[in-house]
C-alpha cells in the first residue's frame, strides 16, 4: 500500500510491500535512490509517527519497521521523483536499448566505414520518435556534430518516448499513456489497466463504479526496474524485508550477467540463471517465494510459487544436467516447445515429466540422454528412494542384455512398439510386448513384476527400459543444450 502525506507543506510517500506491485515499486525505487546517491536510514518504532522522522526525511530515505503492526515502510520525499532524474536513471539502466545513446556511442569515432554509416542511419529512423526528431537528416559520415547537437537538444524527449514505446521497456509492463502521470482511475500495469470510461461498471462491485477501489500511483512507474530479463522477465518477491528484496535481486542480476558473459553464444536466458542459481547456490533463495513472471508476448503478469517441496527437488538436481533442457524443440515452422519452461513448470507444480519423456521417445533422433535426465527428475518428484533406483538399474541392465542378444533391426522394432503402447497408455500391451521380448531374447525381466502389479506408479522403470533399448550408451551423452 502507498500513502502520500504532508509535513510542513512538503509531500512525502510511505510505501509498504504488501503485495507484489508495491514490492516491485519499492525495489525499483531503492535502485533509483542508490543511483541518486541518497543515503538510507533504518528505524524501528512501536507505532510509526511521521513527524518524528520528518527531520531524517529531509535528506535521506527512511526505512521503518512498525512493531505494533508488523509492517515495514519505505518513506521518502516526493521531490526526489523528478522526471529529469527518472530519465537519467532510464539512460543508466537501459543504455543499449535507446537509439540516441547507441548513436552517441558510435559517433565517438572519427572515421566511419560504409557499414557503420548504414547502421547509424537505420537507428536514425529506428522508430517513430527517432523519425520525428531527426526528420530527413541523415548521417553522411561528415555531419557528426549536427547529429550530436540534435541528440543533445532532444535528450529527454527521445529517452522518454523511446522508453515509453519500446516493447521490451515500459510498454512491456504498463499502459504507455500513463508514463509519469499521477495516479489514474485504474492501475497502470499490463493486465490491470482498464478503460474505466467504457468498462468501469462491469469491473466494479455490484456494477457501481463508485465502489471501485482501484489503486494507481506514479510509483508503479518504477516497477520495470525490479524485473530482470528480456523476452521473459522475473521479479522475485522475497520481501521478508526490503534489504532482503534488494539482496536477492542484486544476486540474480549479477548471476545473469555472469552467465551471459560465460556463454559463447551470448544468448543465455534469465530463466536459466534463475533456476541454475537455485540449484547450485546456497546464497540464493532456499525458501518459499513468490516469483512474478512477465512474458513479452502476453499482456499480463503471472505468478510462479516456488514452494519448499519444489525447492528441495531443485536443490537435489545438482547431479542432473539442467543446461541440457535449455532449448526449444521445433515441432513445425510456427510451433516450438520451450523445453526449459516445461521442465521448470513440472518441478514447480510437482507434475511428472511423462509428457516430455514420451515426446523425446517418439523423436526420430536419439534423445536418450534427455529421457534419462527427465526420468531422474521424475524420481525426485516421486521421492523414489533407493528401492526405485535399484529397480530402474535392473531394467537398464536387462535392456542392455537384450541389446547384446538380438539383431539391431529387431531392437528398433520392439522399441517402437513399446513406445507406441506406452504413449497410448495401453499398459497391458506394454506388458505383453515385454513378455514376447523376454521370450524372444531369452532374458529374464525381473523388473517386469512391478509393472504387472502397478504400472502407473512404476512407469519410470518402463521408461528406463525403453530408453536403454538401443545400441550405444546414450545415458552418458553430453549433448548439452539438446538438439
Amino acid at each position: 500500500m502507498v500513502e502520500e502525506f504532508v509535513i510542513d507543506e512538503k509531500s512525502y510517500f510511505k510505501l509498504s510491500a504488501t503485495e507484489w506491485r508495491y514490492s516491485a515499486a519499492a525495489l525499483g525505487l531503492m535502485r533509483y535512490f542508490d543511483f541518486l546517491e541518497i543515503p538510507w536510514i533504518e528505524k524501528a518504532f512501536d507505532v510509526l509517527s511521521l513527524p518524528e522522522i520528518a527531520k531524517e526525511l529531509q535528506k535521506s530515505i527512511v526505512c521503518v519497521y512498525e512493531r505494533s503492526t508488523g509492517f515495514e515502510y519505505l518513506c521518502f520525499a516526493k521531490e526526489y521523483l523528478s522526471e529529469e532524474d527518472y530519465l537519467r536513471f532510464v539512460r543508466e539502466i537501459y543504455p543499449n536499448d535507446l537509439y540516441p545513446f547507441l548513436i552517441e556511442e558510435q559517433l565517438k569515432k572519427s572515421v566511419f566505414e560504409e557499414a557503420e554509416i548504414k547502421e547509424i542511419n537505420t537507428w536514425l529512423t529506428g522508430n517513430t520518435v527517432m523519425k520525428k526528431i531527426f526528420g530527413k537528416t541523415k548521417f553522411t559520415g561528415e555531419n557528426k556534430d549536427e547529429i550530436l547537437t540534435i541528440i543533445k537538444a532532444n535528450k529527454d524527449l527521445s529517452t522518454k518516448e523511446s522508453f515509453r514505446y519500446k516493447k521490451n521497456l515500459y510498454a512491456n509492463y504498463a499502459n504507455t499513456h500513463q508514463l509519469l502521470n499521477e495516479g489514474g482511475d485504474s492501475c497502470r500495469l499490463s493486465g490491470y489497466s482498464i478503460d474505466m470510461g467504457k468498462k468501469g461498471r462491469s469491473t466494479a462491485y455490484n456494477f457501481n463504479v463508485k465502489t471501485s477501489t482501484n489503486m494507481d500511483t506514479i510509483l508503479f512507474d518504477w516497477i520495470p526496474f525490479a524485473f530482470i530479463g528480456d523476452r521473459e522477465a522475473f521479479f522475485i518477491n522475497a520481501n521478508y524485508d526490503l534489504k532482503q528484496l534488494k539482496k536477492i535481486n542484486t544476486f540474480l542480476r549479477t548471476q545473469v550477467k555472469k552467465d551471459r558473459d560465460d556463454d559463447k553464444n551470448k544468448n543465455q536466458n534469465v530463466r536459466y540463471s534463475l533456476f541454475n542459481s537455485m540449484i547450485f547456490s546456497s546464497q540464493f533463495i532456499n525458501f518459499d517465494v513468490e516469483v512474478i513472471y512477465k512474458n513479452r508476448e502476453r499482456d499480463f503478469f503471472e505468478t510462479l510459487y516456488i514452494r519448499h517441496e519444489s525447492m528441495e527437488i531443485l536443490k537435489s538436481m545438482d547431479k542432473i544436467n539442467y543446461k541440457a533442457f535449455c532449448f526449444s524443440l521445433k515441432i513445425n515452422d510456427n510451433y516450438y516447445i520451450d523445453i526449459q519452461e516445461k521442465i521448470t513448470n513440472c518441478i514447480l507444480n510437482l507434475v511428472l515429466t511423462d509428457e516430455l519423456i514420451e515426446l523425446f521417445l517418439k523423436q526420430k533422433n536419439s534423445n536418450g540422454y534427455l529421457v534419462s535426465q527427465c526420468i531422474e527428475i521424475n524420481w525426485l518428484i516421486r521421492k523414489g528412494g533407493e528401492v526405485m533406483k535399484k529397480k530402474m538399474s535392473g531394467a537398464y541392465a536387462c535392456a542392455k542384455e537384450v541389446v547384446k542378444k538380438i539383431p539391431e533391426n529387431k531392437i528398433e522394432s520392439y522399441r517402437q512398439r513399446l513406445t507406441s503402447a506406452i504413449v497410448f497408455k495401453d499398459y497391458d500391451r506394454v506388458c505383453q510386448i515385454l513378455l514376447q521380448l523376454s521370450n524372444y531374447s531369452n532374458v529374464s525381466f525381473n523388473f517386469a513384476y512391478d509393472l504387472f502389479e502397478d504400472f502407473e506408479n512404476n512407469k519410470d522403470i518402463a521408461y528406463t527400459f525403453i530408453n536403454a533399448l538401443r545400441k550405444g550408451n546414450d545415458n552418458t551423452s553430453n549433448n548439452e543444450g539438446g538438439n
Partner: protein, 361 residues
Amino acid sequence: MKALRIKLYQSSANYRKEESDTNKMTYPLPPFSTVIGALHEASGYQTYHPMDLSIQGKYESMHREPYTDYCFLNSTMDDRGILVKMRNPELLSSAFDKVAAAQKSQGNSFRKRITIKVFDEILYQEFIALKELNDEIENFKNTRYKRIMDLIKTRKKTIKIKKTEVSKGEIQYEKLCRREKQIKEIEKQIKDEFEKYKEVQYTKPYSKFRSLTTSLKFYEILNNVELVIHVKAEETVLMTILDNIYHLKSIGRSEDFVEVTEAKIVELIQDDNCDVTSSFSAYLDFRDVKNERIFPVAVGGGVNEKGGTRYGLNKTYQIIDDKRIFDKKSVIYLSQYGIDETSETIWLDRDDDQEYIVNFI
C-alpha cells in the same frame, strides 16, 4: 481454549489478487476476508461477527485457465462489440439474446448497418425502430415541443411584467396569479406527459439493449486444495458456524465449490516445550516470525533466518463513500516452519497423529 476446526477440500480455486484483470492472479491460500465472508454467508449473518482465523493448507499444482470474459460497456455504443437485448435490464447476467455484432475493429455502425452481422432480424428491427423513435422524439422536442415551451415561457414572462404594473390585492392581480398558475400547470402537464411518453416508449425498452464485448482472459487456478481453518470467536458464533457449515458452498469464485471433510470444536493447548514442524503452508503473523516465535525451516533442514513472501492481507472492512476500505494484516506465507513453544497468539491443536500449529490473526 476452544476453537472451531474446519477441514476443506476444493478441486480447484482462485483466490484473486485484487485488481488483476486480464490474468486473475491468485494467492496461494484464501485471504482472511474471503474466508470470513464465506463463513458469514453460510451462517446467514448480515453484520460482522468478530473472529480470528488461522488459515493453513496446501495445493497440488497450479495452472492458467483461459475463459471468455463478457463485459457490458457502461453505455450502448454504435460502433463496437455485440449488441444484445437483456431479458432483465436490471440485471447484467448471461440471460440475453444476441442482436448483432460489429465485424471490424473500427468504422462499424449498428444504426447504419455498416460492417455488422445481424443474428436476429426481428430484434434488430426493434432496435432500429427505437432509434428512429428517439430521433422523432428529439425532433419533436426541438420543434413543436420547443415552440409550445417557448410560448409558455413568453406568457409567463408577460404575466410577470404585468404583475409588477398592478399592486397586490387588486382584482387584476388576482386574475394574473390565477392565469400564471394555470399556465404553470399546463407546462407541468406537457412536460410530464412528454417525459412519461419518452420513458415508456423509448428509455425503458432501449435500456434492454446493451453493448457487450468479449475477450480472452485467464484465471490462475490452484488444483486439489486442502485447507485447515481454525476459527476463534464467541462460543455462540462458533456454534452457529458449526451448525451451518454445510451451507458453505464455495471459497474464492462462486464455482470453487467446497467439500467440508470435517468440522468440529477442538481444544487448543499451550505447550512451553514442544518441537513441532508444520506439514501445511500457512499465513503467519509476521511479528511472530520476526520475533522468532515461529521459525522458517530451510531447504535441507536447519533454521532459515529470512524466508517467505510477505503480504498485507485484507481482514475486515469499513464502507466509506461506498468503498470498502480494508484493514490489512501483515503476514508471511511459508510452507515449512516450526515452533519450540506456544504463546498468546500461537496455539497447538493435537488431534490423533496430527499436530497443527495454530497462529490466529
